[in-house]
């Protein structure tokens, strides 16, 4: 009798222990640049991921378990990420991993996830799986290769009857990659290059370059620039002008998607056709509700108040994890990766299907034209129509206004 009681007691202890294990949270780990060069974007992205964690827990969690996020600051430094991710895996024992924002901090963790055969949700990287070729990598960014960024720019140029093009690109690899993608498309479209100039990344005065562009009388001006250069180029164009004949100006100007730069340039942005990840007016299900809720959080946390560029994509990473885990009822990385490869993901940044390389099978880089922008008004950018969507076709809200000089007014 005594032995029976002992066994019953032990069984109760094991049952309770089992229940406790079942109730353990699902741990998701990542590093995010919260300081350093990528810090501003990283902080805003982290707000979005935390919003998803709150939302999913409010819905009862995943597989009946709460979701817990562990996010370390990698200081935008790639030397930090290998140790942070091994800490997440070996010490914190996380169940799932999300990559940090951007290519550079992500690149050093690719061999680690490949070696351990882990699922990694990518976060706005660019061709980071190119060498490693990991089959459990899923990058959430609206592009795949360099050419995918500018389909919209060249389609708009074709419609405007453009025959010639001028290229102005920062002499840094990323801008050069973008420019090379654009050159490929220009060649395919039969456009004649009348001017081509790379400028050193330290350039601050663009007046002579803009004068040279104007002298070459192109129909299209394609610019691949970094944030500081983008601001200086827009200001130089405003002072000097690129000529009456230019139909479309812009393309790959990094920085014109960032709220502080958009706010400071204001009306100088009018007429520029540039890439983006999301602009108001794209009818993705749930995105408006997300952005309204995000705006309140962003104000409290003092991060990017608009949050168009990165935050929706970070929230979408959470949604994809949720969809895959719920559908497969599993946390097994192979099972989840199979599901992500085979199924369409439904997110607030639209439906996503993945190619074999873990990049979006159907890239959706937005090409928008700034119109009717006033000075010193950040709230105006929330209105649809301030960036008229020219591409992708499915989300188009208008046609390109040409020539550039007319569109500027």
């Amino acid at each position: 009798m005594k032995a029976l009681r002992w066994f019953a007691g032990m069984a109760a202890v094991f049952a309770m222990a089992g229940a406790a294990v079942a109730q353990q949270p699902i741990k998701i780990g990542m590093s995010m640049p919260q300081t350093g060069g990528l810090g501003a974007g990283g902080k805003a992205a982290l707000v979005a991921i935390r919003m998803w964690v709150e939302d999913v827990n409010a819905r009862g969690g995943l597989l009946g378990r709460k979701v817990e996020l562990t996010a370390y600051d990698d200081q935008s430094n790639p030397a930090m990420t290998p140790s942070l991710y091994t800490k997440l895996l070996d010490v914190d024992k996380v169940d799932l991993l999300i990559a940090p924002y951007a290519t550079v901090p992500t690149a050093p963790i690719m061999p680690l996830v490949k070696q351990r055969d882990l699922l990694l949700m990518g976060n706005f990287s660019f061709q980071v799986n190119h060498t490693v070729k990991h089959d459990k990598w899923f990058n959430n960014a609206p592009w795949n290769n360099a050419a995918s960024w500018f389909e919209g720019f060249f389609q708009a140029g074709q419609k405007a009857g453009a025959k010639t093009i001028a290229f102005l690109a920062a002499d840094q690899e990323f801008a050069q990659n973008l420019a090379n993608g654009a050159k490929e498309l220009a060649k395919k479209g039969g456009l004649k290059t009348v001017y081509e100039q790379n400028y050193p990344p330290t350039t601050t005065d663009f007046s002579s370059l803009i004068r040279a562009v104007r002298a070459s009388k192109p129909d299209l001006v394609f610019v691949a620039s970094y944030p500081n250069d983008s601001v200086a180029i827009v200001r130089a164009v405003n002072e000097i002008g690129v000529g009456e004949g230019v139909k479309i100006f812009g393309g790959g100007m990094v920085g014109l998607q960032f709220t502080p730069i958009m706010e400071s340039l204001g009306s100088l942005l009018n007429g520029i056709v540039n890439y983006n990840s999301y602009v108001p007016g794209m009818n993705y299900p749930g995105i408006e509700d997300f952005l309204q809720r995000y705006a309140k959080k962003a104000a409290a946390e003092k991060v990017d108040p608009l949050g168009f560029y990165l935050p929706p994509f970070n929230y979408a990473i959470g949604q994809m994890i949720e969809q895959a885990v719920t559908a497969t009822k599993s946390l097994d990385h192979k099972v989840l990766a199979d599901y992500l490869h085979k199924n369409e993901m439904k997110t607030i940044v639209g439906p996503i299907r993945y190619g074999a390389d873990g990049e979006w099978a159907n890239p959706r880089v937005v090409m928008g034209q700034f119109r009717g922008i006033a000075d010193k008004n950040v709230e105006q950018f929330r209105q649809p129509g301030k960036q008229v969507i020219l591409y992708p076709e499915a989300y188009k809200t208008g046609d390109v206004v040409v020539p550039f000089e007319k569109a500027r007014k």
Binding site: A79, P82, S83, K87, V91, A107, M110, D171, Q172, Q176
Partner: protein, 311 residues
Amino acid sequence: MKFWISAAIVLAAAVAAAVTVKNEYFFFAGYTVLVFVTLATAWNILGGYAGYVNFGTPAFFGLGAYTAAVLFKAFAMPLVLQILAAGVMSGLLGLAAGVLTLRLRGIFFAIATIALVVIMETLFINWRFAGGATGLQLLRPPPMPPFESYIKMLFVLAVAIAIVAVAVARWIEQSWIGRGLRAIRDSEEAAECTGVPTLRLKLFACTVSGALMGTAGACMPMYLSFIEPASTFNLNYAIGALASPMIGGTAHYLGPVIGALILSTLQQVVSVTISSEMNVLVVGVLLVFFVVAAPEGVLGLFKKWFRTSSK
């Protein structure tokens, strides 16, 4: 003899840990700490003994890293040869920088070394074969037995490199070269007048310091499986290499080791606990504290404490 026995024990402990400990995090974190031990020790040879403040650590470290990465990409060269080549290249850069800048002193020398970092970074940004601004991804070869993972092998190598660096610093400190360098630090004119070959000693210190910094950088591409100029030539390496001897003490070869162990370990801990801006603040606060309260570093504090307790 005591030094070599201690060094052998440390190396044996590192190998034993690499073979027995499963958790890889400690090897990743430990590797970073060891890199700073080597950098700080190398910095102290020129900055601490000779008094020439060098902000160019990232240039030497980065050249070492890029040398290894390029040799691996071009010839799949074994890691040990990469490390040796990195040391030679960074040593030559040290010699060249020494020839060009050692007529400068004080703040002017420090500014010139910062320029060296900018020059090297610009060079590698524009070298497409080395990955340019985007960087270069490298696929690690399998680790050598008895190591089951590459990071454990790198950890042991980093321990060995740190021991070599400390041994070189110790040898310099205890030989006539160290005495000569200290004479230069106290008064270069007086040293010259008393027959110290100041130029040769300064060039020697520059070369050795640069070579050791290069060897510290050599394993970095394999540690990250990636290399790109902005983070490789990051001035944080200069700050870490300079701050550690300040914290540990510049007068003794163990000073930089103690400083790097305190500072880098603290940074590793803070980055996974307090996180964010606090991490960056740690170096600044520690530096200010030691400069004000303990200008001779931890070793200075100990000496003072022993002196007062023996009285």
